[in-house]
């Protein structure tokens, strides 16, 4: 029996998609690629339970077939695109809420639930999951963990790993494992294997369920924007706020070019780009949340301190609200929306490095140089604070890519690679929210050196035949029978 026949027998034919048109749509994600650059899988399965996924993996293990699991397919670098064909597991069919423990402030969900579905489920309990990327309506819990993507509220709550208490996975042999500490909020026991899942890109196991820590919904929120003459002064200001003991909920530094990308609704309303002072080089968007009195007190104190850093408050609320709509509320005018409107000619493409805080401004200038060298139109840089109550950044260095032009897509990939490697030279990291995928796989040693061997060994422990999302993080290992030929 072929592996596809076995899949149909094991799952039932309604859970197996074989038609070329149905498989085709799973062959691309959000990453810059030409419209004919689809890499469809050979078969798509629509599981409902962990047992379904276990059956799929056991068949794939037996036949040594590549297995790629995906969620919302909004990855920015092809993480869930099945580059070697094989089986694609569409996890979005597994989106049930298993349990909400209101007292413990936790939820257990199947990994295909979107982040918004989680929030819809817990909102009646006055709780929320603060891990909030811009793709939250589509991004699933499993994808958020496997990609380790970014969050608007990272400076207060961290990223998904800060919310993840436990996860169930199916390994590359079909074994079902629970990694983590059940509903306890932390542990000192054992090795923290659960942490390996963050950014694992489905190369160690398919995440099937997760227990996530929730937070109380703040009663109010104030969002402001301040302009600074330099990026460095915005960084110094944020350091000062943290030193002062303020509890910042969101903090994002944009270069002035980047603001334009986030103010679509402003342009819709006024027919022009928002104006900021000519001297301003950086814009800091900052939010405080909680009880009204506490928020007002913190905001007032923050604005008072701003004077010491040559900062100026953006008084035009429409600019701030347009930015916040783009970043968080997604409250776009009906029949209008930033994303398709901004991608008509060229699409958003980014590198996602991290560099030491003191070298942010220097790296920004390098980003501009590298983008210009590759002849790419610059969108700009956004630095998000993504570590709870500390100054660590993730950087989004974005350019427009004419995705209908194969040469420009190639130049974008070269730009991405050059900037990634440069970040390591800056004593930083190549990735802070997009993971490695097949894009960084050929040069991952630049960042990890000899420790890469240990990573490969970890991978082999979970996935001895290398069937899970092959080609991501590491070049695909040749199968034994292929080697013999």
């Amino acid at each position: 029996m072929s592996y596809i026949e076995e899949l149909i027998t094991a799952l039932g034919k309604e859970k197996v998609l074989l038609d070329p048109s149905e498989r085709f749509v799973y062959g691309a994600d959000w990453s810059p690629r030409t419209p004919d650059e689809f890499e469809p899988p050979d078969v798509v399965v629509l599981p409902r339970t962990t047992r379904d996924i276990q059956r799929v993996i056991k068949i794939a293990y037996e036949h040594e077939i590549p297995v790629t699991a995906g969620g919302g397919l909004t990855g920015m670098l092809g993480g869930a695109v099945p580059i070697f064909g094989g089986i694609y597991i569409d996890t979005t069919t597994m989106n049930s809420v298993v349990e909400v423990d209101q007292r413990n402030q936790t939820i257990r969900v199947q990994a295909g639930a979107t982040l918004q579905e989680v929030n819809d489920a817990v909102q009646p309990y006055d709780l929320w999951l603060p891990h909030q990327p811009e793709s939250k309506w589509v991004c699933t819990v499993g994808s958020a963990i496997a990609c380790d993507n970014d969050s608007t509220f990272g400076v207060r709550y961290g990223k998904i790993l800060n919310c993840l208490l436990s996860a169930e996975i199916v390994t590359g042999t079909g074994e079902v494992l629970e990694l983590g500490h059940r509903k306890a909020h932390f542990t000192s026991s054992g090795y923290k294997l659960k942490d390996l899942l963050a950014g694992s890109e489905g190369t160690l196991g398919i995440i099937t369920e997760a227990t996530l820590k929730l937070e109380p919904i703040p009663a109010s929120r104030r969002v402001d924007m301040l302009v600074f003459p330099r990026m460095g002064s915005a960084v110094d200001y944020l350091n000062r706020l943290l030193k002062a003991g303020l509890c910042i909920e969101a903090a994002h530094i944009n270069c002035k070019r980047r603001l334009r990308f986030y103010t679509h609704s402003y342009k819709q309303k006024f027919g022009k780009d928002p104006e900021i002072p000519a001297w301003a080089e950086a814009l800091l968007a900052i939010a405080f949340a909680g009880d009204v009195e506490a928020v007002d007190m913190q905001r007032n104190y923050a604005l008072k301190l701003a004077k010491e850093y040559e900062a100026q408050l953006v008084e035009e609320r429409e600019i701030v609200e347009a930015w916040w709509a783009s970043k968080y509320t997604l409250d776009f005018e009906p029949f209008k929306q930033k994303w398709p409107d901004s991608q008509k000619q060229k699409k958003f493409g980014a590198a996602d490095p991290g560099v030491p805080v003191g070298r942010l401004e220097e790296f920004y200038h390098k980003f501009v140089q590298v983008a210009e060298k590759h002849n790419l139109e610059i969108i700009g840089m956004n630095a998000y604070l993504e570590h709870p109550n500390s100054i660590g950044f993730s950087l989004s260095c974005a350019v427009f890519v004419d995705y209908r032009n194969a040469d420009e897509v190639r130049r974008f990939r070269e730009f991405h690679d050059e900037l990634s490697k440069l970040a390591v030279a800056f004593e930083g990291t190549m990735s802070t929210f997009m993971s490695d995928t097949n894009q960084k796989a050929p040069y991952l040693e630049v960042e990890h050196g000899p420790s890469l061997k240990y990573m490969r060994d970890v991978k082999r422990l979970f996935d001895p035949k290398g069937i899970l999302n092959p080609g991501k993080k590491f070049p695909r290992e040749v199968k034994q029978d292929e080697r013999a030929q």
Partner: protein
């Protein structure tokens, strides 16, 4: 009507964007979770087809037709997604795909009987019995009440037409009907991909209305409302198309109807064609508020969820269609309302198939509130 090829740029923009925001509110995707049955996937299917990446298969046909064209995807997008889907259906029919047998029978009925429901032309006129409504004649009336096939030939739905006519009469609005000569607006043809037949019918209709000297058409059917309105706009005709809810709300505002408000909790379901596609949200709510206490469902106005009856889904995919209705009724029941009010014959019929809540036409509700007041009128302040 634009052909699929003309949307290639938009399909590529969707591919380039890939935000997937259309998935959250898509009633079909949220029920079946198959990516080709929501706009991001469907746009990719169309793109792949145009690129010659695969042939037309049953799954491609399913991707085109298993959609209610409710427009929820358009609410979250600046692309013309429902137009893509309509063009996709047309493309398939022009490339040798046989119309779905359920859709073929609707079209055949339309050709033979002038309505999609196999009812004789004389059935169109039954509802007007005893109402003393004049028949439109050249130069006699400027306002035409356009009943629409579904309400006119379906006996249980006649009540909403009677209610609308009586309310207009009570407010002294002069209007006529076309009786059994009233044509179909062609909405059904358009939704199932029969664009050429629609264009022909639409042009014929235009001539009929103009020869009668009609200035304004009032209809109680959202499908007719949107179809006629768009046809008039496209052809540059000066005839105005309005939905009865708009007219009646104006009459309430002008104090031409006496209404007693009850304290009963009712919720309002926005028909896709009237709300999202027609832009009429507030007038029906004003009517409900005038007669009862309005409580909103979480998904309302632009975010309203389709009842599942639209665009041939009810006839071709009845099981899925019923699942969508069940979801919407569950949402209505969760508000604590006793009654689910709507203003579309398709929504009304569809939502009634799910037990658990009383379903009532908007203008029947209002007529009832005015009738109670016959002998003791108190003008509603709201």
């Amino acid at each position: 009507m634009s052909e699929l090829n003309e949307f290639k740029d938009e399909l590529e923009t969707c591919f380039g964007t890939s935000c997937g925001f259309c998935e959250r509110g898509c009633p079909v995707y949220q029920t079946l979770k198959v990516k080709t049955l929501c706009m991001r996937g469907r746009n990719r299917t169309m793109l792949g087809l145009l690129q010659g990446k695969f042939e037309i298969t049953p799954a491609v046909v399913q991707a085109a037709f298993e959609c209610t064209l409710c427009g929820n995807c358009d609410r979250w997008c600046s692309l013309k997604n429902t137009e893509h889907t309509r063009a996709f259906r047309e493309y398939l029919l022009k490339h040798g795909v046989e119309p779905m047998k359920e859709h073929s029978s609707l079209v055949a009925s339309l050709k033979n009987y002038g309505n999609p429901w196999f009812q004789p032309r004389s059935a169109r006129n039954r509802w007007t019995k005893g109402l003393n409504i004049p028949k439109a004649a050249p130069g006699k009336q400027e306002v035409l009440f356009f009943a629409g096939c579904t309400s006119a030939v379906t006996k249980p739905l006649n009540r909403s037409l009677v209610a609308t006519a009586k309310l207009l009469q009570r407010a002294d609005v002069k209007f006529a009907t076309m009786g059994q000569d009233e044509p179909c607006c062609g909405s059904t043809l358009l939704r199932v991909g029969q664009t050429d037949a629609f264009e022909e019918l639409s042009a014929d209709n235009m001539k009929k209305f103009e020869s009668l000297g009609i200035k304004k058409i009032i209809t109680a059917c959202p499908g007719c409302y949107v179809t006629l309105k768009k046809s008039f706009e496209k052809s540059g005709s000066k005839i105005e198309a309005t939905h009865a809810a708009q007219e009646i709300a104006k009459l309430i505002e002008d104090g031409k109807l006496n209404i007693r408000k009850s304290t009963e909790r009712m919720t309002y379901h926005d028909p896709c064609h009237l709300g999202r596609l027609g832009g009429v949200f507030e007038e029906p709510r004003e009517i409900v508020r005038a007669a009862a206490t309005l409580v909103e469902m979480p998904n309302n106005r632009y975010e309203s969820r389709c009842c599942g009856a639209g665009a041939g889904l009810q006839s071709a995919f009845p099981k899925l269609s019923r699942e969508l209705a069940s979801k919407r009724v569950a949402e209505a029941k969760a508000t604590g309302a006793t009654t689910l009010v709507t203003s579309c014959p398709f929504c009304e019929t569809q939502l009634r198939t799910v037990p658990g809540i009383k379903v009532l036409d908007l203008l029947e509700l209002l007529l009832d509130a005015t009738e109670i007041e016959k002998n003791n009128t108190t003008k509603n302040a709201s």
